[in-house]
């Protein structure tokens, strides 16, 4: 509340001198938003009262504040892009935007921002749209506290919840997204932050992230998305304190990393994913103080990865902690807690005296020959694994944590 007041105050102070407020509603001076828009000039506010507005495509090309009272409904009747923002310094808040047009050619969105800066979109409810919020060529924009839901069934027939393209310095904060193709989509977006969003039940990725350098995403929840979260072709990403949960399925990952470098994965929780982290061609990534719990695979590190550091994580109750497809090991493991570790600690320094080989023979077998998964936990396989642990012959012997912890870290 206080926060909102400050914004309102600063806005008032800044524009008080020449700003006018127009009211739209069925018993107000303006009956439609479009008619009001004709009269506004930069800096004006448009207060829209409760009601259903089916006005086709509404284009905003003045620097205004478009504010909804009690969630007036903007309905696109499944034909139109609903709000097209083409001006800078614009605020859109408090609307219920629904039923945008569906088309695969020009990507209509509920709220689409074109080549702009300082646009804020907050506290809206977006329901059953093709794209939710679409930003292209934008700078310094804020997307905050929006609830975005759709009911997509097939990947091709639905757009993304928050789609950002060729933009810079965006803040995507505290949105809830579900039922879209990708919850949040970043391509060529730099210096931006994704914070406190909850992205669940999207058809493809909870977060889809490509060619977007120098970004952070912090304290988000990605749960039960078709393929989890994908971060590709990017450097310098910070992934901190996120939760990746129940991303289940063939080719589903808690976090899929491809061609990533110089990034930092810290304090995240990976719980009940088919593969918690899948790494391909990643280098110089630090994976630190994360929790991997009850996943099918804790980390799948392909042989194309190098110079990654896996330090001080908890691996608990995963079917396989680590798996790889090659014999080359260019990554280091240090000071992790592995619940499958069976060593001892004679000097009582809480670090196991025997190095731990997190790669089980069977995980290597399954990697090469997936149907063998059927035999998991059979006596035959346990026997193979045990004998391999004693005399490693097929698994690379430098795939090792030399300082495994005796007790789990409090994470």
């Amino acid at each position: 509340m206080k926060y909102k007041l400050t914004i309102l105050l600063s806005v008032l102070v800044q524009f008080y001198s020449f700003a006018t407020t127009y009211e739209v509603g069925h018993n107000k001076p303006f009956k439609s938003i479009k008619s009001a828009l004709k009269n506004v000039k930069n800096g004006d506010s448009l207060l829209v009262y409760e009601g259903v507005y089916k006005e086709g495509n509404i284009v905003i090309n003045k620097e205004i504040k478009l504010i909804g009272k009690n969630y007036p409904v903007l309905d696109g009747q499944k034909k139109f892009e609903i709000l097209s923002v083409k001006s800078a310094n614009t605020l859109i808040c408090g609307f219920r935007v629904q039923h945008s047009g569906y088309a695969t050619l020009d990507d209509p969105g509920a709220i689409k921002v074109y080549d702009s800066h300082n646009v804020t979109i907050r506290d809206n409810i977006l329901d059953d749209n093709f794209f939710g919020i679409y930003l292209q060529y934008c700078r310094n924009c804020i997307v905050k506290n929006n609830q975005i839901q759709a009911y997509g069934i097939e990947e091709q027939q639905i757009g993304n919840g928050i789609h950002c393209w060729k933009s810079d310095s965006l803040q995507i904060i505290a949105n809830k997204i579900s039922g879209h193709r990708d919850g949040i989509y970043f391509e060529f977006v730099t210096n931006s932050i994704i914070w406190r969003n909850i992205s669940t039940g999207n058809i493809r990725y909870g977060l889809h992230f490509m060619f977007s350098n120098n970004d952070s995403y912090i304290t988000n929840v990605f749960k039960n998305n078709g393929a989890g979260v994908s971060v590709m072709f990017t450097k310098n990403v910070k992934m901190i304190n996120n939760t990746f949960e129940e991303n289940w399925g063939d080719a589903a990952y808690g976090l899929f990393l491809k061609e990533i470098s110089d990034s930092y994965i810290f304090g995240n929780h990976f719980i009940k994913n088919t593969s918690a982290i899948h790494m391909e061609g990643t280098s110089r990534i630090k994976v630190e103080r994360n929790v991997f719990e009850s996943n099918g695979w804790g980390m799948k590190i392909q042989a194309s990865c190098m110079d990654n550091e896996v330090t001080a994580n908890n691996f608990i109750g995963n079917t396989f902690d680590i798996s790889t497809n090659g014999s080359l090991v260019l990554n280091t493991f240090n000071g992790n807690y592995w619940d499958k570790y069976e060593g001892y600690d004679l000097d009582r320094n809480h670090i196991g005296d025997v190095p731990y080989h997190p790669l089980s023979l069977f995980s290597v077998i399954v990697e090469n020959n997936p149907p063998a998964m059927l035999l998991f936990r059979s006596f035959m396989v346990s026997l193979l694994d045990k004998s391999e642990k004693m005399i490693p012959s097929l698994t690379p012997d430098n795939f090792v944590d030399n300082t495994p912890l005796m007790h789990s870290l409090g994470l």
Partner: protein, 255 residues
């Protein structure tokens, strides 16, 4: 329960081996659950108990008991009792006694410590495995008059199902790695009750891994209601078929 069955159950329950079996199961189960800090690890140990110890004890104990009952069977045969009734009573007697041992020994700690879905599945599977291997014992003991041979057959069958079969499948999966053999493998598992049991538990225990790649195919097959019903029907067949074959042979057997 019929009167003969009651005599058999009472007789078996007095048997020291069955008491030791119960005790070992109990010590193992309570032990693994109270030693390990998460119940999953305890369940893993118990999984091996259910997949190895339970079938081994069931099949060997039953085989020996059937051979040792030859006098009893002979005595009953001169009485006005249908042959199939004798054989069925023996089957139910053995099954009930071994199930009691399993449920008291392993069942109680599983119910106390394990999550209900995994624990329940494990109990159900343990029950089926017990009865399946009692049925297999009937088959192996009717196959030959020689007690030593019969026990040998029982142990071989156990080894085949518990060890060799998986080795063969592993070998096959490598031989045909270039082909889409997932579905065939699902079918092949139906030919081994232990594998079937293991996969049913696996789908609960390693649910995350089972969601991936091949797992998904197994999950699709065994994970839904139809699949689970199919799996248990097959397990039921594994009880019925060996027993019925043994029953047919027993009806024609000279004593």
């Amino acid at each position: 329960m019929n009167r003969i069955g009651k005599f058999i159950v009472l007789d078996i329950l007095k048997n020291k081996i069955i008491l030791v079996y119960t005790l070992i199961l109990a010590v193992l189960s309570w032990g693994v659950f109270s030693l390990e800090d998460n119940s999953t690890k305890g369940l893993l140990t118990l999984l091996n108990v259910v997949l190895l110890t339970v079938p081994l004890v069931s099949v060997i104990f039953s085989t020996i008991y059937i051979y040792n009952s030859s006098e009893f069977i002979e005595l009953l045969l001169s009485q006005p009792i249908r042959r199939s009734k004798i054989w069925l009573s023996l089957f139910f007697g053995l099954s009930i006694s071994l199930l009691l041992a399993f449920l008291i020994g392993a069942g109680i700690p599983i119910l106390v410590y394990a999550p209900l879905d995994i624990g329940g599945m494990m109990l159900l599977v343990g029950i089926f495995i017990t009865v399946v291997f009692v049925a297999i014992a009937f088959l192996s003991s009717i196959a030959t008059r020689d007690k030593a041979k019969g026990i040998g057959i029982a142990i071989l069958l156990w080894m085949f199902f518990a060890l060799l079969f998986d080795g063969l499948i592993l070998f096959m999966s490598f031989q045909f790695a270039d082909y889409p053999i997932e579905k065939i493998m699902v079918v092949v598992t139906a030919f081994n009750p232990i594998d079937l049991a293991r996969i049913l538990i696996l789908l609960h225990l390693d649910v995350s891994a089972m969601m991936g790649y091949t797992g998904a195919i197994f999950k699709d097959f065994f994970g839904n209601q139809v699949g689970i019903i199919a799996a248990f029907t097959i397990l039921l067949l594994w009880v019925a078929v060996p027993f019925i074959i043994s029953l047919r042979k027993f009806r024609r057997k000279d004593l």
